[in-house]
């Protein structure tokens, strides 16, 4: 039996009296794209912060490639091969697009950490992958919002991670931009990187993820194959409320009290 790339075992995180995560357990297999969805405040970003070492977890264990990583500082998690993006992009504003990506390659996972010349060459490859090659010499201030999202992706990919955690890369994008961003995510996946995609927007997840984990109030509500999860009326209820879920069940001719 092979070890999953990432394992979360009963991970809990509290902020004062608020239980942001309650015994969250799931695995990410090598080479898949896993979606994590949930309504606002479900704990999606907290979960991502816990994996990437930004937050320390209170209970449970997180294993990456069979080794425990909870308790490691963020730069060690990055070095082990977990990259991430931020929902609100955090570019290095005084630098050019190319320099932003190159910094990822100068540091990053143990497979990256290149010398400056190699880092800039690798940065150009990554920028081509995300479709920013023509804007490599632009200062960040000259980028549109979709391009800033691409840059956020490029910097994370440049660190040569094995696992990439994407925090709502489609948020704030219109339908066309969102489709383009999805293409970029697929290309990154094809380059051999396992992806965890945190999303609020359902269609995005449905279009690209094979498997989905649903978070609600800090707990795993359900997980499974994408279509099964999206058909689950509990998921609809969590997102849209009981009234809508009830209507949906009636429309499908399902019994009313299947919770």
């Amino acid at each position: 039996m092979t070890v999953p790339l990432l394992e979360l075992e009963a991970v809990s995180k509290r902020f004062g009296g608020v239980k942001a995560l309650k015994r969250v357990t799931f695995v990410v297999e090598e080479a898949e794209i896993l979606g994590i969805i949930g309504p606002n405040g479900a704990g999606k970003t907290t979960l991502l912060n816990c994996i990437s070492g930004v937050h320390r977890i209170d209970e449970g264990q997180i294993n990456f490639d069979g080794k425990q990583i909870n308790g490691e500082p963020p730069h060690m998690v990055a070095r082990l091969g977990i990259g991430r993006t931020f929902q609100i992009v955090k570019p290095f504003a005084s630098m050019t697009v190319r320099e932003n990506a190159a910094i990822g390659a100068l540091f990053g996972s143990s497979r990256a950490r290149m010398a400056p010349a190699a880092a800039f060459a690798w940065a150009d490859e990554v920028l081509a992958l995300v479709g920013l090659a023509s804007k490599a010499s632009f200062p960040v201030a000259g980028l549109t919002i979709p391009d800033r999202k691409r840059l956020e992706l490029a910097r994370a990919v440049a660190t040569r991670p094995r696992l990439l955690l994407l925090d709502e890369v489609m948020s704030g994008l219109n339908a066309v931009e969102s489709d383009q961003a999805l293409d970029v995510v697929r290309r990154i996946h094809q380059s051999g990187i396992t992806i965890v995609l945190i999303e609020h927007v359902m269609p995005v997840v449905a279009g690209v993820c094979e498997r989905i984990v649903v978070l609600n109030f800090g707990e795993v509500l359900t997980e499974g194959r994408t279509q099964d999860v999206l058909d689950d009326s509990r998921v609809v209820e969590a997102y849209l409320g009981q009234k809508y879920a009830k209507r949906l069940r009636q429309a499908r001719g399902e019994p009313d009290q299947d919770r």
């Binding site: 990437s52 290095f92 540091f107 010398a115 200062p139």
Partner: protein
């Protein structure tokens, strides 16, 4: 045309630098013995003791501003207490060369001047660099004041009287060259850091510390290392100053004004750039020395003027004069010229 003018400017700068660096040779004892002193050469209006003293002071502020640039300009941590490192370096030399304490010759004491402040910076850096923004600035300001007060109140360190390193007679040229060497070392350190992975890590921390951490920058290590480097260079300048001045006490090696001045120079010249702090130190320290020379009310008013310069720079050219002449920002002269050219076509 512009290339030619830029070359001309560069050549002129190199000539001035060479003259400033070579002329003090005429003040050395061998030159005097050979009859090549400034007076007999008729150049004592270009090089004499008071001019050399001013140049040494300017070189000292080049060290302070350029060293501050490592932590304040590159890493983005507004350290307001670097004078603590200057004072510690000075007191290291003061204690070691004191006839009643260390008995060491200056040549052996000076190499230790960067070490003591560097160790101190490593120690206090760990807790201090967890603070950000104003909190870090205030904490370091407190550190700068506190260290001076502690030393002043310990008799072992000479108390409020201070320490008196043995006087070197007719050695103004020596201290000029030492301070100029320290300035060159500080600029070289900045140059190396700016080209290295370490330097990129520092800039990443300045731009966004959280993003820097998750792409694998060991932020704590980087910040402390930058702080320690800045402390070592600042301490070296302090060590040279102690012997040069041959009298140190809390007031002359822990002055709060130095904190403000070194930051003002670095920011006015261009924080985070290689030559910005150097240019800022030369221009502003010349100005300060000139105004102070006028004495009386002018000297007091000049302090207000410095504050005004700081405020104006931060508001209108936040990235400094170097950026103003060659940079990208919308308020820079270069940018205004570019847009004028584009609209006139």
């Amino acid at each position: 045309m512009t290339v030619f003018r830029r070359r001309l400017l560069l050549v002129a700068l190199l000539v001035v630098t060479a003259v400033v660096l070579v002329l003090p040779v005429t003040l050395t004892p061998p030159a005097a013995d050979a009859g090549l002193d400034p007076e007999s050469l008729g150049i004592d209006f270009l090089v004499n003791k008071s001019i050399l003293r001013m140049e040494t002071t300017i070189a000292m502020f080049i060290v302070l501003a350029t060293a501050w640039n490592l932590i304040g300009g590159l890493t983005g941590y507004a350290a307001f207490g670097n004078v603590a490192f200057f004072g510690l370096g000075a007191y290291t030399v003061g204690m070691l060369t004191d006839p009643e304490r260390g008995h060491l010759p200056f040549a052996l004491a000076l190499p230790l001047a960067p070490l003591v402040p560097a160790l101190f910076a490593a120690l206090v850096g760990l807790p201090l660099l967890r603070l950000r923004g104003h909190y870090f600035a205030i904490a370091t300001l407190g550190m700068g004041v506190a260290i001076g007060e502690v030393i002043k109140n310990i008799d072992l360190f000479g108390g409020s009287t201070g320490l008196f390193p043995p006087i070197f007679r007719r050695a103004d040229w020596l201290f000029f060259y030492l301070m100029a060497g320290a300035a060159a070392l500080a600029v070289a350190t900045n140059w190396l850091v700016l080209r290295s992975r370490f330097g990129y890590g520092l800039i990443a921390i300045r731009e966004n510390e959280e993003a820097a951490a998750v792409i694998g920058v060991n932020t704590t290590l980087h910040k402390v290392a930058a702080f320690v480097l800045a402390a070592a260079l600042t301490g070296l300048a302090g060590g040279i100053f102690a012997q040069w001045n041959s009298f140190i006490n809390q007031e002359n090696v822990f002055p709060i004004e130095y904190n403000v001045e070194m930051i003002l120079m670095a920011i006015a010249g261009g924080a985070g750039t290689l030559f910005g702090p150097l240019a800022g130190a030369i221009v502003l320290e010349s100005l300060i020395l000139w105004l102070a020379g006028m004495g009386g009310e002018v000297a007091v008013l000049s302090q207000i003027g410095l504050g005004l310069i700081l405020a104006i720079t931060i508001i209108f050219v936040p990235r400094g004069v170097v950026d103003f002449f060659g940079g990208q920002s919308a308020l820079s002269l270069a940018h205004i010229r570019r847009s004028l050219r584009e609209t006139s076509v």
